[in-house]
């Protein structure tokens, strides 16, 4: 496992992953951008230290694909904020992507295991 303080991963490399993480985060319930960013940063042990700004293009992209939806509503301190929530299509996509991700991780792990001599 990479440790805290290791260099953050490249945003480009992470684009697909970021989508997955956003969907995963929204599985817990509707949230606005600020929350999503912090949840991801927190849960990944700060490894995925992307600029929070890069989250917004991802949100826009997911929305364009119909995997998430957004509504304007009051935030905790009664400001106007946009809440994102998962759609049915998004839920399906999350399942599909998660299993593909797991396959990928397993495959990479197999390759990366030290060779027995």
């Amino acid at each position: 496992m990479p440790k805290r303080g290791a260099p953050p991963l490249d945003a480009d490399l992470l684009q697909g992953t970021l989508d997955l993480l956003v969907l995963q985060t929204l599985l817990l319930g509707p949230a606005h951008g600020h929350t999503i960013a912090h949840v991801i940063e927190h849960r990944s042990d700060a490894v995925l230290q992307v600029e929070h700004g890069s989250l917004y293009p991802a949100l826009h992209r997911l929305q364009n694909r119909g995997w998430i939806k957004s509504d304007w509503g009051p935030s905790e301190n009664n400001r106007k904020a946009r809440f994102y929530r998962l759609t049915a299509a998004g839920r399906k996509q999350l399942l599909r992507q998660t299993s593909r991700w797991e396959q990928l991780v397993a495959a990479v792990n197999r390759v990366l295991q030290p060779v027995r001599e």
């Binding site: 606005h32 600029e51 929070h52 946009r82």
Partner: protein, 879 residues
Amino acid sequence: MNLKRFFQRGLRREEFAAELQAYLEKETEENMERGMSAEEARRAAHLKLGNRGNILGEISKQDSFGLLETLWHDMRYGLRMLSKHRGFALVSLLTLAIGIGANTAIFTVVDATLIRPLPYPNANRAVMVWEHHLTDDERQNVTSPATFLNWQQDNTVFDQMAAIFNDSSILSGGSTPEQIATASVSPNFFSILGVNAAIGRVFVPAQDGNANSNRAAVLSFEVWQRHFASDPNVLGTQITLDDKPYTVVGIMPRGFEFFVKQQSFSSKKPEIWVTMNFAPADHARHGRYLQAIGLLRPNVTLPQAREAMLSLSSRLVAQDPASMKNWSVNLVPLRSQLTGDVAQGLQLLLAAVGMVLLIACGNVATLNLARASTRRHEIAIRMALGASAKRVVRQVLTESCLLAVVGGFAGFGLGYLCLNTLKSIAPANLIPLEALRLDFRVFAFAFAVSLLSGLLFGVIPAIDAARTAPREPLQEGATAARTGDSRGFVRRILVVGEVAIALVLLIGAGLLIRSFQRLVAVDPGFRADHILTAWIQFPNARYEKDEQKSQFFAQLLDSIRAIPGVRSASADGFLPFAGIIAGTGVQVEGRPILPVSQQPGVNVSLVEPDFFETLGIPLISGRTFNRSEAFQATGNVIISQSMAQMLWPGENPLGKRVTIYMKRNNTPSTVIGVVGDVKHAGLSSAVKPTAYWSYPELGFQFMTLVIRTDGDPRSLIPNLRQTVLRMDKNQPIADVVPMETLLSTSVARTRFATQVMAAFACVAILLAIVGIYGIISYDVELRTREIGLRMALGAQRGSVIRLVLNRGMMLAGVGIVLGILASLGLTRLLTTVLFQTPPNDPIIFALDALTLATVALCAGYFAVRRVSNIEPMTVLRRE
């Protein structure tokens, strides 16, 4: 990507902007809760979020057509920049419009004459076949029936061959007879070209191919319209040419023409075609008067055909050395035949106009560079705000191309105007005027040239802009003087290049103008003013006896002399400046007999009495023909001064006898007079020894009337026609033109090339002025601070002006030296078009260099005057 999103992208952007704002507020709040100061908290929030502009850009990109969107942005931005710098934009646009306009006009001409396919389907395989006269190196000599028939039978490289003879005949019937250009052609002529009739049929060897069937005619569309009122029933009817009946079998499509001028008997494009078939006796006819055209077999290349024809030709020489010795064969592809003499001139113009465009591009690039330097600030800010170098290059290039395309549109319009001017000054027959049009191809050309020049003049400033390190100009302040940097160097090179090219054009034009002046200053040997000329030709059948013809001309000239306003009237067999003249060998009586090939050659013409007086050719000694010699062949001859000098140098030629080999009996003629020399073939031609017989000696079927009038010769025309028709109601006259027109037509092509070159040179100078002015005034602007300092330290205004001016003049000087060097190499290409003017004429070179230097000095001076506006105190205070 869908359109709805594309059109709502503005709204989205606002939404996301609001959302990012919300993020920042929230994050700041949280940071403050963690104990940061307000300032610190806001800063940390911004850092966490990243570059807001980039995020929004990223989002917008998802909603747009990427490349197009950027282009659109760049274009709008470019337009804004251009409208902000109106002076810059205006000068650039004008410069470009001139460059592109001139190119468009010349391209149109080149396209119409050289590029567009010939209107004959078989044009690529059609080849003109000439005899090559080795003794005087005439490479395109007409051939004889005997040789043509040998070629036709024995060649192995042509599918078919046809013979052509351009003639002139009288088309009678209808209200007035008309002298019309005709062509006798082999029946397969049209199938060699691959063309068909619009109505009826063309000649077919099967139907028109025997000697007894030489009575079919094909009309051009134009003669059908003009003479037959577009009546389709003319097909199958008989028309009368030179008093002989022909059956009309077809009418060619509108615009069809075929005319090869080289050694053509008639100088006009034929409008009626009749068949020419050969009889067995023609195998022995060696008089050369036929043009020949062949259709190459498929898969036979031109070099192969040349080789085969050369070997055939040497066999013919071996068979019949008497008539074929010193004659070879020469093949010329139809296209080069038809465009050959125009091509060289056009290439010259194309080169010149290309240079104009180069100068224009150089100018705009200089302006752009100068502006790019003042724009460094703006670009530095853009780059500091995160614009990539690629993006900046694209922006600058888009701006250049935008400028170029707008300039191109203006240029296209200007090209249209140029073309109209060109059409009005272009001599007839030089370029196909009706084919000149601004069509899609020309538009595409103009557009391509615009874009190309946009890239050309945009690329240097663009690269320059991209190299801008963001920090440097921001720290320095924009007015800091940087001398000797790479940017300035490029600009200087551009100006030097412009001056050099402008000088090349100026020298080229100067040489052409000088040559033209020398040409028109040549004395043709006669007085052309107040002379009307008219061609008159009898049908073969009408006046058979020589006495009848002599009688006709004597009577006609008498009645012309009786017309009020006519001072004198006469006629000439071969008028100067009107084309061909007969030539032959001579033998002086009492000297050793020379073989034909060693006899001195002279030109021969026939004249009526009063000819020399009417044209104003001076009588040097002896007498001219009297009235009685107009009726009877007396064997007297009048010779030109050069003929007298050639045959009897230092002797009195009067009374001497000489045989001029042209009559049937070849008895010697007696010299009764010597007259001045005439430049028969044009002002630039060499004088040829000439003999004049009186009309009855040969009794030609054709003569040219020469009439000296009191007033405008044109006013005589209707009266002249009436007089001829009163003598013979079936006898037309043709080519009725004042002698001065013939004279000016003969130099029309040279005048045209000179005018166009001069125009280009003027434009080039104009552009160079703009360039020099631009660079010096920019120099002054950049160095305001330095100049202010100098003046504050006590430098005189005058010496500062001199300093700045010197620098500009250095550039002009280098440009002029380079221009002279380049001209020394390039003007040699003009050698063939120049008349009595060496291509490196030192006077022209010096004069043009001086002109350009003066002009540069003036431009520089006007630019430098700004220095006087510099107030040392103001400058220093600004720092």
